[in-house]
Symmetry: C2
Subunit: 420 residues, 2 copies
């Protein structure tokens, strides 16, 4: 197979999702932005949503907007829109706080529900914040639980989960798509394995939601959390979502029991009584100026449809890997993502001993913006709503040039920030 730029352009020409790129702000068309897996682009519709919220809802209508403008219901309304992207029912997803705080709520709720079981199981590919939160939760619960961290066989692929599950496992919690290699667990298989031994499952969907198709309902997933500022295009640090399977909602207790999760917040009763359904997992008043911005981005994803998005994402990561095979592998670049599409999310990680200097050269000299993850990984995020085949082609061509011509040598390796 040969690759050339006309072929890449041809792929764009026939891409049915290509028009969605025009729904985003793209100020520097020459910049190849491959970091939408860290911070998604700004949907054009979000600009209006923001200015209406600030100028009209807050500025003009003031406190009245909590009811009039739908602020009060926004966590559930937007949650329901995310539900369709992850195969959940509308009343099973709600927006709240940050991914880390939602993980705390649900992990603690699960551990307290699973009386008599001591093990909390995760893996060493999980996002470190998740591990930190679990470590903190175990401390808080009186160190009655132990955290088992399953090793990845190769730093790329997920652990052999079935081998680590046992009848002492209270909760299995994993990143669905892992942040470094992009490996994606099979939700249905792993959830079934956990359920077989009576463990609950809590998935972190941060690197999947909006790019990887899944069906939480069919898999019977217990719990999930996820981020809205990556593929969902909600804006920097936009509030996170959480999912609780319908039949579990009344059985679990939110340890961060604040007034927004209270049955009747405006009674101002002195004792906490949890709200019905998912609202009990709310805590404090949500930051509306950020929360409201999630809605337009999620609407775009739903308009495109998650099946089509996943289809394009797979085609584009396959294309990137084919270019790597042809051009970069011979230059000593390693693929640190799975080759099998079913095991891969929407970013591809390439590695080279000079990864840090190469990444810097791409950003500062070549108008390519991926991101670097120690010790030597460069992540290329594919965001099917706006990434083009031509961008992938150009990015890989420039990466080849940087390595072939050793353009990275202009940077002093001593400038690399110390890993402490």
């Amino acid at each position: 197979m040969t690759f050339d730029r006309p072929d890449a352009q041809q792929r764009d020409d026939i891409d049915p999702l290509a028009p969605f790129r025009q729904r985003f702000i793209i100020d520097e068309p020459a910049l190849i932005y491959l970091d939408g897996n860290s911070l998604g682009r700004l949907p054009i519709a979000t600009i209006d949503r923001s200015s209406r919220l600030i100028r009209e809802e807050w500025g003009r209508r003031l406190i009245r907007s909590w009811n009039e403008a739908g602020w009060w219901d926004a966590p559930q309304r937007i949650g329901a829109q995310i539900a369709t992207l992850i195969g959940a029912r509308p009343d099973e997803v709600i927006i709240a706080d940050s991914t880390s705080i939602n993980l705390f709520k649900l992990a603690v709720a699960a551990l307290r529900h699973q009386t008599g079981r001591q093990r909390l199981l995760t893996d060493d590919l999980n996002f470190p914040s998740d591990l930190y939160i679990l470590q903190g939760a175990i401390e808080l619960l009186g160190k009655q639980h132990e955290l088992g961290v399953m090793p990845s066989p190769d730093g790329v692929h997920g652990a052999d989960v079935a081998a680590h599950l046992d009848d002492q496992t209270a909760l299995l919690t994993l990143s669905h798509t892992v942040f470094k290699s992009g490996f994606t667990y099979d939700i249905a298989t792993v959830t079934a394995q956990a359920h077989e031994v009576g463990a609950m499952v809590l998935w972190d969907l941060s690197h999947s939601a909006g790019a990887v198709a899944m069906d939480l309902t069919a898999a019977g997933v217990d719990l999930a959390v996820g981020c809205t500022y990556k593929y969902l295009n909600g804006g920097p640090g936009s509030p996170a979502f959480l999912y609780v399977r319908r039949d579990l909602q009344e059985k679990l207790h939110n340890p961060l029991s604040g007034w927004l999760g209270q049955r009747s917040p405006f009674d101002f009763a002195l004792d906490y009584r949890p709200a019905a359904g998912l609202r009990r997992f709310l805590t404090g008043t949500p930051p509306m100026a950020a929360l409201a911005l999630i809605e337009p981005g999620v609407a775009l994803l739903n308009e495109a449809g998650i099946a089509a998005l996943r289809g394009k994402s797979v085609a584009q990561t396959e294309y990137l890997i084919a270019l790597w095979d042809a051009w970069l592998r011979p230059l000593g670049v390693a693929l640190r993502s799975p080759r099998q599409a079913a095991q891969r999310g929407s970013h591809v990680t390439l590695a080279h001993p000079e990864g840090w200097r190469i990444n810097r050269t791409l950003i500062e000299q070549m108008k390519v913006l991926p991101d670097f993850r120690a010790p030597d990984n460069i992540r290329f995020g594919i965001t099917p709503l706006y990434t083009t085949y031509t961008e992938i082609y150009d990015a890989m061509a420039r990466l080849r040039q940087v390595i072939e011509e050793k353009l990275y040598e202009r940077y002093d390796p001593a400038e690399r920030p110390d890993v402490t």
Copy 2:
């Protein structure tokens, strides 16, 4: 003393803070907004800050803005600006999460620090969300602590704290200004009483910050939390702040140990090591589109100066109470706020058996916007940056008219939402 409208206008004419009103969006000048203690008005400068953040920082510069646009440092930078309003040092205040979640972090940190002490002390005037969070925290810590809820003598004034403190008290936590009556504790006295028995103190400053002067440093306050969407004008649900006295920062542990509180978040190490200083009390990625909006409002407060703001607030609440005395007391309206200015925050609560219908009449018929708090309280919030004496005069005159002419009778009392 007689009251008339020219006298009120005269008071506005000589008010040195009067020009600050022009720095806010006021779309309906005829609307008397006395709910700035729930949601502060929109500063004009915030509109630009928001559109720059959305359109330029997110839209154009994308992920690069975390460093370039000061997003990363914003929690500390804005925290330092709030510090001057509450008499704290710049490195003692940081923006994070919601008030309820910050209260959880600091209350749990304090209880774990105070080994061997079982009592957690608060009062029945505290904001219920604070009580709910404390109840949840005690559950989580294995029910080794008991929550003592000191009774207010009359539902208006704070409890006799000294009588309840003992050598088993681990932590005393109170709303500095209480949400219903506006009673304000004397921070210096109460903190000293707590320290005398070895208890730590955690103040909720939500109804004080930006309107009531205080000196946390002089009082030696251990811990505090507070909200930014009331007198600080940060926008609906804007993220909260927390304060930890400098010498305690390295001794306390954040139970919600997320990656933003980690020493080197981008090392992605598997074990949590807390950051130096106050950053350890961060958890997840903050919602920048809301967090950034806190800065312009706080700048306005600092420009006015907290001493001047408090001076005007006291003068205005005194004025409102004088009008009540002259006009409303004879009509059976009760004052549910302290008469002594030193014991009062920046809102005044009036009560009447028909409070719910009267409040609704004020809002729907009289262009006055206070808020109602069950069972019969109407809160009038004074926000010295933009509340005028004329507004207070007119609001009380209209309240008098509503009662004298029984204008509230147009509403069916059965429409009042059930308190369940």
